[in-house]
Subunit: 198 residues, 4 copies
DNA sequence: AATGAATGAGCCTTCATTCAT
DNA sequence: AATGAATGAAGGCTCATTCAT
């Protein structure tokens, strides 16, 4: 039954369906029909609203990025100290939303996509830069600039690595352990900084 | 004119071509024809020798895994202390061979493939388990068992994360910095271990 | 806000938009949406008023035919002699209205359409018959019946041919030259008639 | 049963099938599958050999043009006088090959195509220019240069017009009458030239 | 040993058309 | 009077795969 104002609803449904479908299949080899069916609409409608498969994927990536950005922003808002800010960023990356199997899978898949699609890469750069600069900024208040850069990179790498490994694990996601590993790393690294001559 | 004993030559050429092609395109969306052309043979021949695209990909993954395994084995052979063994493993992961753009891309792509292909996942498990157990074994000689597990996982995660990030960078690979980051992490972590109450 | 008496306005707008669209694209491969947009209405409305694409095309053809018919009638009204009548018909075919690029293109396109659509062919027959009989009638007053048929056919053919060739030319239409060519042909033909044995 | 050297055979079969299919349907709205089926092959093969529908159409046009060119060349070879050359060109345009219903339809359809496809237009220009220059050359030997241009254009137009009209006629083609009309036109025109003051 | 020939299956995309509002 | 919403049907194209040579 056609109603007015369906567009945002359909777009949202299609994007969610895309995440689910990619999550289930574990790759971008998902047909528009599969996605549309999951969203309860025809494939033609997906094209109608997004223009094509490529754009649907891009919109989905953007959504993923936005969600992560919001999680980070909220966490940062509640943080009081620089060390808190770092924890907030780590927590955001492993928050329930982000760590659902389908979401992890979708992230990973888009990560790879970024290798071959210029538009995808552009989107990812924005995300990477934002996370990095947030981390760097927090670290800088705890160490010198040079170390901040290093530590920010290492932290980001570990986060990504844990994501990656979770994407391949069979069992349920285990965000607590992941967070603990990164936190320990940060603690140790900052600790070592404070005691230069060991 | 058909020659005798061409099989190993062709197989090798096709596997190399697969790595190159995937590296260039940045995804598994490579046609058998493209690969075959790059190897200087017909697409039909690829099927003749491998049975199908799937098997060609699997063989290529296996090759990648073997190469990494060999790099690790060689490094471990020269290592004298447990700490040396850890460094050897890190170095192997970032050795010149492994860190060529095409290879990084191929790894990443196969990583994702593992999500949807049971056979691919099986192969990767073997690799992950071997790296993990090697790391764990070395760490266990420097820390307690519990910490060894944790540290091994964190180290492996950081390595994977650095790989991932390099896969998306535009510039030339920078293995030295990557190695330094991981080594620092290990140093700091072991350091912290030795001085429990900080 | 819906207004009353919109029907004729919309129909006219849609027909004009059809001519323009066909003229611009140079073929019948025009979507109903494109036409509707050009007319400033929704595609659904086009169906509402015409019933379908086919009927819209047919209505457009009819319009084209009517315009040509009117141009001819007006010219014939002012003609005094049989020879004048011939000139009037020629002039009508190359009158400004008919010789606009979009109109030429539309004519040509519909001409082809007539090959595959019975209804389109029927419309064209009416036009062709009317032009032919007008020409024949005029010629008959200047020559014998047999020759009149021949000359009418030749004249009509030349007119159509000149149209065709103009449809493919890049530059601006050149009705004067076209008219001159046909007039010369008629003159020469009639001349030859008068002097049978050469 | 796959054999070697099939390519030229298949190409030829596909081109012939294209002409037939277009001729039967009377428009370019022919699917590749229809054409392929008529040629006794799969649609995929058509793409394999031609790359796409567009190229298949272009190749078909080229073939049509070549056939016409050959008919003209043969006729010209046998012509002794300038007037003979003109007749030869006219005859070529209405020769049995060219005047088959399917061929006429295909010509007409491609003629229209030229309006929207740059590549098609380019091909047609070549044909038009060649026919024109041949005609002009012959006329120039019989009249002054200025008249030659005019007469060549008028002749070409009449030929095209007769083609056009035949394309829409239901009955069987009637090349003799068509040729007679054009020949009469040429005769009368040349006659008139010779007797300037009437 | 190697390949040209050939195809079936499947996907993206377009578009005319319908319907409820 | 007019339109946004929605879809079924169909077409072009790609590609892995097979087969006879």
């Amino acid at each position: 039954m056609p109603k007015l104002g369906m567009e945002p609803i359909r777009r949202r449904a299609l994007i969610d369906a895309t995440i689910e479908a990619i999550g289930e299949v574990g790759s971008l080899d998902v047909t528009v029909s599969q996605i549309a069916e999951r969203a309860g609409v025809s494939a033609a409608l997906a094209h109608h609203y997004f223009g094509g498969k490529e754009e649907l994927f891009l919109a989905t990536m953007r959504e993923l990025l936005v969600r992560l950005g919001e999680a980070a922003r909220q966490g940062l808002g509640r943080a009081r100290t620089p060390r808190d800010r770092i924890s907030a960023l780590i927590a955001a990356c492993f928050s329930a939303d982000q760590f659902e199997p389908a979401t992890i899978a979708a992230w990973l898949v888009f990560y790879v996509r970024a290798q071959s699609s210029e538009s995808a890469r552009r989107l990812f750069r924005i995300y990477a830069r934002r996370l990095d600069s947030n981390l760097r900024f927090a670290f800088r208040q705890l160490t010198g600039t040079t170390d901040a850069v290093r530590l920010a990179e290492a932290t980001a790498a570990m986060i990504d690595g844990l994501w990656l490994r979770h994407a391949l694990k069979d069992g349920p996601p285990d965000p607590e352990t992941a967070v603990a590993l990164v936190e320990d790393f940060v603690d140790d690294a900052l600790d070592a900084r404070g005691r230069p001559a060991s």
